[in-house]
Symmetry: D2
Subunit: 166 residues, 4 copies
């Protein structure tokens, strides 16, 4: 199997606690990722991460959860493959390096760090109701989507090596 | 899915270059892991890692490759899910935290660091032709196996939560 | 020596390339930090990091440079103590955990990730011409300063354990 | 200041708990490092790390403590500059990359991992009553010293860029 044959890996980043309507959005994102045959990559915890994992797992997908802690039991119950880092927030860099594209949903400062790290490392970004960030001369480049289906379609297109410079 | 329902994850650690007989041993280890329904966790590179990955992939298993570098193309072609850390040798700690048990095959100093980290973090260890290490008052506790089949059987037994204190 | 007797550690985060007026600002920030007897913590590279390091080193201060790469020669010439992580952008989390307060100066996405990680981990933040970030319901809390002297005075006050809840 | 002008950095690795005679040995090692004008790099915790830190601090040296946890209060009281990683055992790789040479004193599995990582990354190693490790065809190359003074003299010689290929 070479790069072109591996399943795409789509990251979903968002806060560890969220409202029911955000969870429903994240769950639909996860489901669409799995239905497309892609692997879901998340931080493995609750909230948006768990809702997306539930959506992907119930559609038969593989869910990778890159955990900040050093114990597997901190993974949400829909993670099929926990990656136990024990590195705290430093694992956010692994999340964005591992995903071919990242969908950021709402989020607190941890999600903002993942948006920034994706921009820094060149991982394509799609945003749903998430952070806007700018300086006087710069801003984070992100494809803003209106709903789960558009977000996943954009992420899959951006993740496809056929569509990427590198 | 909770911990008890997830597939077991067995790590195979070994050098990035190896002789043909060692590669044959590692490939059989990888195959047996996949045949048992477990996920193979490796460092994702060549040598022992690639041989084990080939064995597992050809038996239809999932192969997680936790890469030291920051580019996916450094994964061997049998890795199904690369985890791209960009952390160099610091990723060795993730390998042993992620696996429920580790099989060390021969190896250079990187493999020795994984043996030591497994001992430090309490991940059960099985050795095949690998390092022996001791001080005047301490030694690394490891189950030494005579061949691939025994190594995998021991690793699976040690990884099973039914057999573990924690 | 206990926590109260150690020198304070002030982080300066900013891009690896910058205009001369930004470099002058960063250099003054570094000088003020050293004049206050605090240790400067940076990412160890060029641009804002180097200018701040130059200011601190020329005032006789200690400069810690937490390098993303695995080779010391990538440190700027004013770093007195390089910390060689080999972890790439994941080291940004170490920068903010190590500093008692962080001053962010302008910056690209790497600096934004450090701002976000500081917010996530509770490290007090002071901004100079830097990122503004918000969602519909959240924003990054930061003390915005008008110049180098105010920024350092605020950072020192925020870093002082006498002024901190924890 | 360029590389040649920076103080040398000597790492001392050893267990977090130790007997009084080992502590006395480690304290003398730390003192000699400081008397030579070098910076002491340790893991920042107790036992051998604390004893070496006490020796260096009392001789007026700088002590860098690269902590596994995410809170400064876990540093021993003789650390002048804590580096707070929050990365657990993965920080062992930073210890050996940051030191120009490492002295390993006795030790448990964490120390063995640092010996192995030093060998892997090419950091010169000096051992005092520490691990011996070998496979049928390989062993860890280490300069074994008989006492604190010889260990520090050897480490300083190995750390000197004048004596190193790179």
């Amino acid at each position: 199997m070479d790069r072109a044959e591996r399943p795409l890996r789509i990251g979903v980043m968002g806060p560890g606690e969220c409202r029911p309507d955000t969870a429903a959005l994240a769950e639909r994102v996860g489901r669409r990722i799995a239905e497309a045959g892609a692997v879901l990559v998340t931080g493995g915890r609750g909230g948006v991460m768990e809702a997306a994992s539930r959506g992907a797992a119930r559609a038969g997908g593989i869910v990778v959860g890159i955990l900040p802690g050093d114990e597997e039991h901190t993974a949400n119950p829909f993670v099929t493959i926990p990656v136990v880092t024990g590195m705290g927030e430093a694992r956010n860099a692994i999340n964005v390096l591992t995903a071919h594209a990242v969908i950021a949903i709402e989020g607190g400062p941890g999600t903002l760090s993942e948006i920034a790290l994706a921009a820094k490392t060149g991982t394509p970004l799609v945003g749903l109701r998430t952070w806007r960030a700018a300086t006087d001369s710069a801003r984070i480049d992100m494809h803003r989507a209106d709903g789960a289906d558009e977000a996943v379609a954009r992420a899959l297109a951006l993740a496809d090596p056929e569509n990427r410079a590198c």
